[in-house]
Symmetry: none
């Protein structure tokens, strides 16, 4: 298992458990963590990140609800074998919602369409390569 360079920023305003979720999902999305891989134990992760174990428990629990990971009593937590199959409609809605949010803020900032699209292409590229960045500040 790779070292998983996770890091949380307590001042970001985003809940810590959310930052954890985002970074782990990012690792999985990029392929750095593959189906069946074991995740760091709750206690270990809590210690290295200097957060409370309950916070990690919450992050893992939410990821399990999303179908991204699976926890097994006494064994550990693992990346789920099959990525959850979102209904096509839900996927389009969610995509449209996030894209709308991006478009709105960008327009408010006076960004051009090209500038926005470039930012997105960059983000997609970065995700495929260096999954341990922390891209989430949608709040």
């Amino acid at each position: 298992m790779a070292p998983l360079h996770l890091q949380i920023d307590p001042h970001s305003g985003l809940p810590v458990y959310r930052q954890l979720m985002d970074q782990l999902r990012s690792y999985i999305a990029s392929g750095a963590l593959k189906a069946g891989d074991q995740l760091p134990s709750i206690r270990e992760l809590a210690k290295t990140l200097a957060v409370n174990p309950s916070t990690v428990v919450k992050a893992y629990g939410e990821l399990e609800h999303l179908g991204v990971i699976e926890s097994q009593q006494g064994r550990g937590a693992f990346v789920a074998e099959r990525a959850p199959r979102w209904p096509e409609s839900h996927r389009r809605d969610r995509l449209a919602a996030l894209a709308g949010q991006l478009a709105l803020e960008a327009a408010q900032m006076g960004a051009s369409e090209d500038e926005i699209l470039d930012a997105l292409r960059t983000a997609i590229d970065r995700l495929a390569r260096s999954p341990h960045s922390n891209p989430s500040q949608p709040e």
Copy 2:
């Protein structure tokens, strides 16, 4: 002043004040609300939307903090004369953060790069035409 077809959805999970902010910013970004235009009064808006007046106060306050609107004691709130000049660095960061969030979720949903870019183009187009929609559900 345009009729401002605002509407809030208490079930969306997004804070009400945030929905209000997003829609007003959307109107301004699209040009439907222009510099100097007067916004509805807090009491009036609270009544028509059936929300708590303090919620409107918070939304207006945040927008003023962002430099998007200006409140004048006893006269009301107005769209700011000059769109706030975001520092270039902050603008790029914010854009990258939102784009990263979109890219991450899309990747986990199994969406292709083209699919994501299409969603964004659609969102930009829609924003330019019907600014009073409510595209924001990033949570």
Copy 3:
């Protein structure tokens, strides 16, 4: 809002948050709690049940994940407007699993088919009438 005669048994072996969930779902299933009804506040419920607020938070959170209730910042928790629509396949699977568990234990106890079916009919009747019982001890 009805008084909601909830009660938890710390010695039942079932997690407290699970007992809470079951009883609330039971109230909702029986119609004693209807769509849109407000649930007791987390703090209030925690006090009357003499459990930690976090435990109630967990119960409410799980119910929200199930789509049974909806929580709104600063307003409270409410019974969801639309009961979640389970996919037909999932519903059959879940029903078969629970029925199998019941059949297995009953067979082991030497219960006759009629005896088992009677128990089930009784349970269905009881559920429709007095929703504040505590039927859950599947562990």
Copy 4:
């Protein structure tokens, strides 16, 4: 001794020792395993199922506690001669509890009374015929 087609599913959410217990009880309830029959040794079972031996120890221990099997030092484990006599009251309680759980979940899924009873009849039939299935997923 019959081949005992046991199989455990680490993803089911049910404790492994519980799955083992359920399947063995199922074999006994159906008559495939009769009083006095010898069970597989702990080491052998652990190896074929690829589980931790202590897990099998726990399953056998619980079954012995229930009076379903009997372990004899150095000789192995055997199906108990006399099926344990459950007190009538305990039996009714347990049956009612399981039936209540089934009724509750079914009601919330919108299943009709007939649908629930059909599921139960099917489960009873299936149990009588192919006892080595794994019907238990009450979690």
